[in-house]
């Protein structure tokens, strides 16, 4: 065990319940798993509290995922928070970490995830409801175990590129044969900083390029959508609006994608 790993293990052993923002390195997750810690993924809505409770800390016009993380951090009783602030996340998370470190009485530990050993992305290419697969991918960040019995690769009929959205309801509009691309794919592969993998798409299937509003990835999503021969660029804030739903429905139907 290296000195760094030893000190990580000594530190993490003191905690029982930790929160994570972004994807901390596998060493952190492994140490948490080894010590049977409860891990809360703060990027997901976990508490029934108004997003407004984040407003004293973050501007209202800010990534809804990080506003959600702040609400979770304020309302869950955690012993520590690990925030990935490396190239696999974003500056918005770095600034959020700074703010939380001052606002909370617990350690807020910044990490820099440079993991580059791919675990594969079978769920991204499986034939199952998109929402279920995205939930499984996001749940997967709490475990360092390799994937058992990966489902077979399906023939894609549509693509979803992007991060797991703040509001998963948009995913119900896609067929089960939708392949997942973008950062969500990097997430399943456990290489969140793999920008080459993030930029991949399949030009042969109609693809929705999705980003959270106010995220820097809106630029990448729009850029890639322009390169893709059959794409829809979409950014959504806290909830999927009626017009965003209608755009996705119309895009898929008019592109001849079977439900």
């Amino acid at each position: 065990m290296t000195l760094e790993l030893a000190s990580l293990s000594t530190t993490i052993r003191r905690f029982r319940k930790i929160g994570i923002i972004g994807i901390p390195p596998l060493d952190v997750i492994r140490a948490a798993n080894d010590n049977n810690l409860v891990i809360h993924d703060l990027d997901e809505p976990l508490v029934r509290e108004d997003l407004e409770t984040a407003s004293p800390f973050l501007p209202r016009v800010y990534c809804a995922i990080l506003r959600t993380a702040v609400v979770n951090a304020l309302h869950l009783e955690l012993d520590a928070i690990y925030v990935d602030t490396g190239p696999g996340k974003c500056d918005c998370a770095l600034h959020t970490a700074t703010i939380l470190a001052e606002a909370l009485p617990i350690p807020v530990i910044c990490t820099r995830n440079m993991d580059n050993t791919g675990y594969g992305y079978p769920l991204c290419q499986a034939h199952q409801p998109l929402l279920d697969r995205m939930q499984a991918i996001t749940a997967g960040v709490k475990s360092a175990a390799p994937y058992d019995n990966p489902p077979p690769v399906s023939m894609p009929t549509a693509g979803f590129w992007g991060v797991p959205p703040r509001d998963f309801s948009i995913l119900t509009l896609f067929p089960e044969t939708t392949h997942i691309f973008g950062w969500a794919r990097c997430m399943e592969n456990k290489t969140p900083a793999d920008h080459d993998l993030e930029a991949q798409f399949n030009p042969l299937v109609p693809t929705v390029f999705f980003a959270q509003s106010f995220c820097a990835k809106t630029a990448l999503a729009r850029y890639l959508a322009k390169k893709h021969p059959h794409a829809l660029y979409l950014d959504v804030d806290v909830h999927t609006t009626g017009s965003a739903r209608a755009k996705v429905q119309a895009f898929l139907e008019l592109s001849g994608v079977e439900p």
Binding site: H230, L232, T241, G242, S243, A246, K247, Q249, A250, F251, E253, L254, S255
Partner: protein
């Protein structure tokens, strides 16, 4: 089979079983609450029918039925939103629906006409324009301009031109576009676009609904 396009300000209907089906129109505020149709689209459509076609699909199907070219941009300017579809080689290439920043533009144009007692057919397209992104925000530009001594009709015309330019940019600044919606009847609005405009009238979504209805009928019979 009765089709209905339930807009924010106006509702349009078409009875496919009538001998010579002709669309009819009624102000939304006068619509009986117990109205029921067989197939609906539009902002309020879900309340009046069990079967609903989303507005972008209705617009696209309407465009497919009414436009012969393979490459075109069709822009719909409604009371509360603007949306467009772009077809290339007969296939959907791009689309947009702006219900937030395009909010209430059509509604505001109509409101101003009544408030200031104007007749848009008598107004010339002005040289100048406002930078308008939203109907509500654009109103304060009108008031400021009027206070500075510009005639009301000129200020409103600048506002209308600003809305047309905003909608044109939203649709991707094409050299030519087809226009859908009640604003097709507003010569000042149509003339304010900095490109060639072909107005298709306010029944494009209804035509799209007709295409969908006939398709669904054919599928049921097959």
């Amino acid at each position: 089979m009765i089709l209905g396009d339930f807009g924010t300000s106006y509702c349009k209907f078409l009875d496919l079983d009538a001998p010579n089906p002709e669309p009819s129109i009624i102000a939304t505020k006068d619509l009986p609450q117990d109205t029921r149709v067989d197939l609906a689209t539009g902002h309020n459509g879900k309340r009046f029918s069990a079967r609903y076609v989303n507005e972008l699909i209705a617009l696209a199907r309407g465009g497919e039925a009414m436009i012969v070219e393979d490459d075109y941009v069709l822009l719909d300017c409604g009371s509360r939103d603007i949306k467009f579809i772009r077809y290339q080689n007969g296939k959907l290439a791009d689309m947009g629906w702006n219900a937030e920043c395009g909010a209430s533009m059509g509604f505001t144009i109509e409101l101003l006409e009544r408030y200031y007692d104007l007749d848009y057919s008598g107004l010339k397209v002005p040289e100048q324009t406002f930078s308008v992104t939203c109907g509500v925000l654009g109103m304060s530009d009108i008031f400021d301009t009027v206070i500075s001594g510009v005639p009301v009709s000129e200020a409103v015309a600048r506002f209308v031109k600003g809305i047309a330019i905003n909608a044109y940019r939203f649709a991707g600044s094409p050299a030519r576009l087809y226009l859908s919606g009640g604003l097709c009847d507003n010569p000042l609005f149509v003339g304010s676009f900095p490109c060639q405009v072909t107005p298709l009238g306010r029944f494009v979504l209804l035509r799209g609904l007709e295409t969908e209805a006939r398709q669904r009928r054919a599928n049921t019979l097959a």
